[in-house]
């Protein structure tokens, strides 16, 4: 309420002022204006009566039942619920571009302090300086998405997306500082480094000072010293943010994201993009126990998906495949579908054809050509029943069928995907089954 009010506030103004209480000006007005006072009193009466409404409070036994059920169910939940039924297409396209953009920004930031200069330059956000309960200085590049949570002795930064440059002053005994993404945690003891995430997945770490060990899920550990960096190969970064499944062109569960330039599993494309001096990267390559790695993967909620490894553009199929990927990344799903179609046709019988057929379906879905996407998925499932992408394709097909109101068929597809080895696919299938049940309950698809 403004000072010196002479006219009556509207009922809406009174309503807005009510939660915080009347200020001095309004109190004086209410004392002098019976109409407004009556309105104010009516709101007080409604609020007072509303507070007399029964409150649901659980008994101890019920509370324990719910808590137990919650934690048991939570263990089977993975990943975020889809905001729309068409999540596979969004995931396969939009997020890929975001991830690629971040990776591109990283890679074009130059070596050494390029990214760091950008981080502390114009537009950067300086989150905190190591004062009081914090030991870290966090510089965020524009559009970075992060939250400062926790203070010493357990200082935590939750990074969802973008690049942070972090400087940590030496910690006292018992103090910790960590940067957490959905799939990793970086813990330091006094160092300066960049950490980059895209779509909640760790993309890169660059160390300016100190020493960092990088241990990505299911991959070899890499030790980095000052001036060194680790980054997930660009194609993997893109794929990590696309469709959450694990697959290779051959279907083998090959290790991925080894040290750039030093790994047999890294694609030529990746090596060409990153190409650090192999001498500066010390590969630790300690094999982690399989059970621990599996647990990591399950807890991640989404295995790292691997796009096809195209080692060279040596033929028309490969060229068409590359063209499809470029088009998909450039936001041209129709062009991508056409190119993948050519790749599939040219590479009939070859492993490339399997991937091309799959990505053609994805591209068609992204293009909004659901009927054609459904056809492409049906062909893929028929032609490649042993493909590691069968579960994923089934789930995608299920969502399309659900959109079309084919509840029984959709349920069958989701059930086929429910046993997939990739947790995220299983989770998606489960959500699909729930959506089918919900559609049946509602009586409309």
């Amino acid at each position: 309420m403004s000072a010196g009010r002479t006219s009556c506030p509207s009922s809406r103004e009174l309503s807005r002022a009510f939660p915080t209480g009347a200020d001095e000006v309004l109190r004086r007005h209410l004392a002098a204006c019976p109409a407004c006072a009556a309105g104010w009193h009516a709101m007080e009466r409604v609020a007072e009566l509303a507070r007399g409404l029964p409150e649901g409070q659980p008994t101890g036994e019920r509370r324990e039942d719910v808590r137990t059920a919650l934690l048991a169910t939570s263990a089977a939940v993975s990943g975020a619920a889809p905001s729309r039924r068409r999540w596979p297409w969004i995931a396969a396209g939009g997020l890929a571009l975001v991830a690629a953009a971040v990776a591109g920004a990283w890679l074009t930031g130059g070596h050494g302090g390029g990214a760091r200069r950008a981080a502390v330059g114009a537009g950067a956000r300086r989150a905190t300086v190591g004062a009081g309960a914090r030991r870290a200085t966090v510089h965020a590049q524009p559009h970075a998405s992060f939250v400062l949570v926790g203070t010493q002795p357990d200082e935590l930064v939750r990074l969802a997306h973008g690049t942070l440059t972090v400087e940590v002053s030496p910690l006292a005994p018992g103090e910790r500082f960590r940067v957490v993404t959905a799939d990793a945690e970086v813990e330091v003891r006094g160092t300066a480094f960049d950490v980059v995430a895209a779509d909640d997945r760790l993309v890169a770490v660059r160390v300016f000072r100190g020493h960092v060990e990088v241990r990505p899920a299911g991959r070899a550990e890499v030790a980095l010293g000052a001036g060194q960096r680790w980054e997930v190969p660009a194609m993997l970064a893109t794929a990590t943010a696309t469709v959450p499944t694990e697959s290779t062109r051959t279907g083998a569960a090959a290790p991925v994201a080894e040290a750039p330039g030093a790994s047999v599993a890294s694609s030529d494309r990746v090596s060409a993009l990153s190409a650090p001096d192999p001498r500066t990267v010390r590969e630790v390559r300690r094999e982690r126990p399989a059970r621990a790695a599996a647990a990591d993967g399950a807890a991640a909620g989404a295995d790292v998906q691997r796009p096809p490894l195209v080692t060279a553009s040596s033929g028309p199929a490969e060229a068409a495949f590359d063209e499809g990927w470029r088009a998909l990344r450039d936001g041209d799903p129709a062009g991508a579908a056409e190119a993948f179609g050519r790749a599939a046709a040219a590479g009939t019988g070859a492993p490339l054809a399997e991937d091309a057929a799959f990505w053609r379906a994805v591209a068609l879905g992204r293009a909004g050509r659901d009927a054609e996407a459904a056809g492409a998925l049906a062909i893929f499932l028929d032609r490649y029943p042993s493909s590691p992408r069968v579960g994923e394709a089934s789930a995608m097909y299920g969502w399309i069928l659900l959109e079309l109101g084919e509840l029984d068929a959709a349920e069958a597809r989701f059930r086929a995907a429910a046993g997939d080895r990739v947790p995220a696919v299983r989770g998606g299938a489960q959500r699909g089954l729930e959506a089918v049940a919900g559609a049946r309950d509602a009586g409309t698809p």
Partner: protein, 197 residues
Amino acid sequence: MTGKLLLLRSVEGVREEMSDEALLAACGAGDAAALGALFDRHHASVYRFLSRLAGTDSASLDDLVQTTFLEVRRGARRFGGRAAVRSWIFGVAANVVRHQVRGEIRRKSILQACASLPALAGTTPHQALERRELVERLGAALRTLSHDLRAAFVLCELEEVPGIEAARVLGVREGTLWRRLHEARRALRAAIDGEPE
């Protein structure tokens, strides 16, 4: 001067001493114990919020509470720190109600709503009866409000979530929130006064 990148390790620390934000972050990284700690910390207020928002029986309420915390776990990574965690959880609960309350729950709520009113503190039997009738009338009117109006009223009036936070967790502009709150109050006032809106 060493650092380690460790995958998916539970966020360590004394959970009772961790902030809501830290627990939520740990939750987003798959820490089930953090989810349990969040539940322990907020389940009572979530029960209360949902009971007023959905006005349902205890069994359905249990389901709604469980679903809410599952969605909290699923959505933890999306928490942007723009509202208190408690408010954010209310927003999640409001969405759960919006999407999951079905006719069955509504039917049960009508049958049971009047049977569970608390003891009233009227000074005379007549006043107590009158007040009870008003509360019943208000409760019935609250259930007839649209979800949006009801969520605004329960969040701001009963849970005392600041308007700007309520707007954020409901995903609307602050002005929209105030408008809904105003409309809800007006409708409830009309109901207890026995007047048409």
